[in-house]
Structure formats: C-alpha cells, structure tokens
C-alpha cells in the first residue's frame, strides 16, 4: 500500500518524523530570502517564504511546528523588517492556526486546491498586518500590497515539492537502513 492511498491521519501515523535539522535549515533559508535587500516595487512583490515554510511544517509535522514557533519567527521578522514588535508574530500565529484547523482538509487535496487554501491563509496573514498598521495610523499602501500574498501562494507548489522530497528522501533512507 502506498502512503498516498491512506487517509491523511493514517499517513501521519505511518510516517517517520522529518528531521529537526531540515525544519531549521528550511526556515533559515526562507529567512535569508526574506532579508535580501528588497526595496520599492520588489518589496511589495516579495513572497513570504517564511510563512510558507511555517505552513508546510504545520501541515506535515503538526507535532513539532505550531503557533509557538510561528510566534518566535514572527518576532524575528518584525525586528529585521523594522516593524512594531508583534505584528508578524500575530499574523503568522493566525495563519498557522488556520493551517492547523484546516490541516486534514488541505492534506486531502491535490496541489492546485492546496494552493487555493494557502492563498486564503496568506491573504489572511497580510490582512491582519494591514489592519494593525492602519490602526497605528499608516496609509493604505495600495492594492499592490496584495501582490505579495498571491505570489506567496503561487510559490506553494515549488516549496512543497522541495521540502516534501527532502522529507520523503530522508524517510526512505532511514527505512532502507
């Protein structure tokens, strides 16, 4: 029986956990991409790989990655993006909560439908941050602001492929030995 034939919950029970190292490395790589010197129009289009990686691990390793890690990573993003502390943390926690609640549902879909679900999560996270900034008196940066969450959702397929193949390869290797 292939893992794909199992229900998501059974698949979850069957598989070995992904390595902590892979989770850390993937988050660190996403963070490096986030702190590249983006500016101007590129800044509005910057895909949020950190959020994407958080969602991936929330869906695939719900016992290791959750809202706590999302909160901590969010604080780090706030510092490096020179925002008010807690904004990214709040947005990431909300998105990861959505991923936790919808987890079984998302995992039972194929990539296109998964992308739509991820789009919902990323737009929610962006809206949370937008609301907080508007409350603090910032100006609406224009609808170009929503380019970033859309691009982030489109990046779901490649990110999913890279991380999943990384995780699966390790499992196969461990199963063989």
């Amino acid at each position: 029986m292939r893992p794909a034939d199992l229900t998501p919950v059974a698949r979850d029970v069957m598989k070995l956990p992904a390595s902590v190292g892979l989770m850390f490395v993937s988050l660190a790589a996403a963070y490096v991409v986030a702190v590249l010197p983006w500016s101007g129009a590129w800044l509005l289009a910057r895909p949020d790989f950190v959020l994407l990686v958080l969602i991936f691990w929330t869906l695939n390793e719900p016992r290791s990655v959750g809202q706590g890690i999302a909160f901590a990573v969010g604080l780090l993003m706030d510092v490096s993006d020179s925002m008010l502390l807690g904004q990214h943390a709040f947005a990431y926690v909300v998105a990861v909560y959505g991923a936790q609640v919808l987890r079984v549902r998302i995992m039972s879909f194929h990539l296109p439908e998964q992308t739509l679900h991820v789009l919902g999560l990323t737009v929610t996270a962006s809206c949370v941050m937008l609301m907080l900034n508007l409350l603090l008196g910032a100006d609406f940066p224009g609808f170009a602001y929503f380019i970033s969450p859309v691009l982030t959702a489109f990046a779901w397929a490649p990110v999913n492929w890279v991380l999943y193949s990384g995780a699966v390869r390790r499992r196969r290797r461990e199963a063989a030995s």
Binding site: P37, L75, L76, A138
Partner: protein, 310 residues
C-alpha cells in the same frame, strides 16, 4: 479507575486555546513596544542575532555593485571627475565667503554666552538597504551603537536633510526619512524667514507644510531650510523646495506641497550629525515668566531676516 491516555495521544491545549494565548501575547508585545518602548533590549539582542544573516543576504547585491563599479568605463569616471571639479570651483567662492561669515559669527558668539549650534563634524555612513516595510519610509545605515550613534541624530546628504536616526542597533541604525508620515522638521523659508513645520506626507517625494495661513507669502520654488529652534537639527540645512501652493478662500490654511531637497530615495552615503546639547531649561516659575525674552525664536528670525536682503 481513570487511566491516563498513552503519551502518543497527548496533544496539549487545543489550537483555539493556543490561538487565544498567542494573540494576547502578540497584543501585549505590541502595546509594550508601541506605548512604552519597553522592548528595546529584546529588539537589540534579536537584531544582533539577525545581523550575520542579513550580512550574508546582502552579499550578492553588494558583489554585483562592486563588480559593476570595477568595470565602470573610464570615460564615465572622467566625465564625473570633470563635473565634480567644476562644482568644486563653483563652490569655492561660496565656501570662502561662508568661512568668513562663520569666523565673524564665531567671534560674535564668543562674545555672548552659548555655543555655536552649527553642524561641525558628523559620521559618514553607507546606506545598506531600504527597510523592508511597505508601511514606512526608513533606510538602514552601517553605523550603530559601536560608532557612538544615538537615536535622534539628524541625517543629511550632499543636498539636504535626509531624516533622523530613530532606532540604533549594534552595528546598524535605522533612519526615518523626512517623507515618512508624521515625521516633522521645524523649517524656515529662506526668502523671508517665515517659520513653519515640514511634515512628511507618507508618499515618496512629497512633504506637506500644514497650518500656513492662506495669506502667507509662499511661492513655488521657495526653499525651506531647518530653523534650528528644535535643538535637534542644526539651522540652515536645506529641507525641501516648494512644489505647489494652493490657496483656497474656503480654507483657513494654504495647501503647500514641497519636494525633499535630499535625494531621499537614492543615495549611497549619508552623514549623521551629532546631537546638539539640549538648551538649558528654565527652572523656576519666575524664570518661566521671563522666558519669551530668552526664547531662541526671535534670534532665528533675525538670522533669516538678515539673510533675506542679500
């Protein structure tokens, strides 16, 4: 007998409970940061952690810049050199005049109490990147606590005021640009010494000058320079050039939009000026009553007035 479930099924608090907890935590952090600025140490230590990663991330683009710099054609360098030399000659006369005036002024100041408030020496910093935050206008420069940078220091470039240092890290600091919404600079109109406050509009390349009466003598092309009455910005730095003046009888105030003089979005080097020592505060009530006579306001106006007819 109630048996504990096997550890395999332990899941901890429900996602909703966690969400509530972390939401409250996030709101607490935001309030602590926004209202009380209580988390500067947290921010500082996290930024120290993040610094090496940011350095690594900045490497590729820095390498590209170096690479293109290296292969810049000699022709362009020559042209630039010639232009710069012409500029030096052009400015030499002004500089000598300024030296003379300054010597005179120092002489005058030496006779009276107080110290010169003019900018003397600053720290040159390289702009590392624009802050990655679509809601604000900030840049990050490569000088920090270790170089003695303090929050509040004014920042200029070759042509005018860029902004003010608002957060200091160990090796880097954040400069809020004059175009940032709500960032205000006390200014003075060069032509007639009219004083005002220039406030960033939150849009790139635009500064508002609110609360100027509709009858005020402001024209297109007028220059606003810092007035120096705030004790933060030294007087006489160019801030903005008036781009449009709209006077409508229906409103009490003229709508003035100015363009920042400094190339606020495109520079590589800026200068951080030292903070002027705070002016002495009146201590007793009696002194407060006499304050108008000692306030720096009239003095500044006189400086502007003296400059106007020339």
């Amino acid at each position: 007998m109630i048996r504990e479930p096997p550890p395999f099924f332990h899941r901890g608090p429900s996602p909703l409970a966690r969400l509530t907890f972390f939401t409250l935590a996030a709101i607490a952090v935001m309030i602590a940061d926004h209202r009380f600025h209580a988390l500067e140490t947290v921010r500082l230590s996290l930024s120290v952690l993040a610094h090496p990663v940011q350095e690594i991330a900045a490497l590729p683009s820095a390498a590209i810049v170096r690479f293109t710099d290296y292969f810049t054609s000699q022709d362009r360098l020559l042209r630039e050199n010639r232009a710069l030399q012409a500029k030096v000659l052009e400015q030499a006369a002004t500089a000598q005049e300024a030296k003379l005036l300054r010597a005179e002024q120092e002489h005058l100041i030496a006779m009276g109490p107080g110290k010169s408030r003019y900018a003397d020496n600053g720290v040159i910093a390289e702009v590392l990147y624009t802050a990655r935050n679509p809601f604000t206008r900030k840049i990050v420069v490569n000088q920090g606590l270790t170089q003695g940078i303090k929050a509040g220091m004014p920042v200029i470039d070759g042509t005018g005021v860029v902004g003010q240092v608002t957060a200091v890290g160990t090796f880097t600091s954040e400069v809020t640009l004059v175009t940032e919404k709500g960032q205000s600079v006390p200014v003075m109109l060069v032509r007639n010494g009219l004083r005002a406050v220039a406030v960033g509009s939150g849009k790139d390349g635009a500064i508002d000058v609110p609360f100027m009466p509709a009858s005020a003598d402001v024209q297109d092309g007028d220059l606003f320079v810092t007035s120096g009455i705030d004790g933060t910005y030294p007087p006489g730095l160019v801030v903005a050039k008036v781009a449009s003046v709209e006077k409508n009888a229906a409103y009490m105030f003229a709508r003035i939009v100015a363009r920042p003089a400094a190339a606020v979005d495109s520079y590589r080097y800026v200068m951080l000026l030292p903070l002027a020592p705070a002016p002495p505060r009146p201590e007793t009530r009696d002194e407060e009553a006499r304050k108008p006579a000692r306030a720096p306001g009239p003095k500044v106006r006189r400086e502007g007035g003296a400059g106007a007819p020339r």
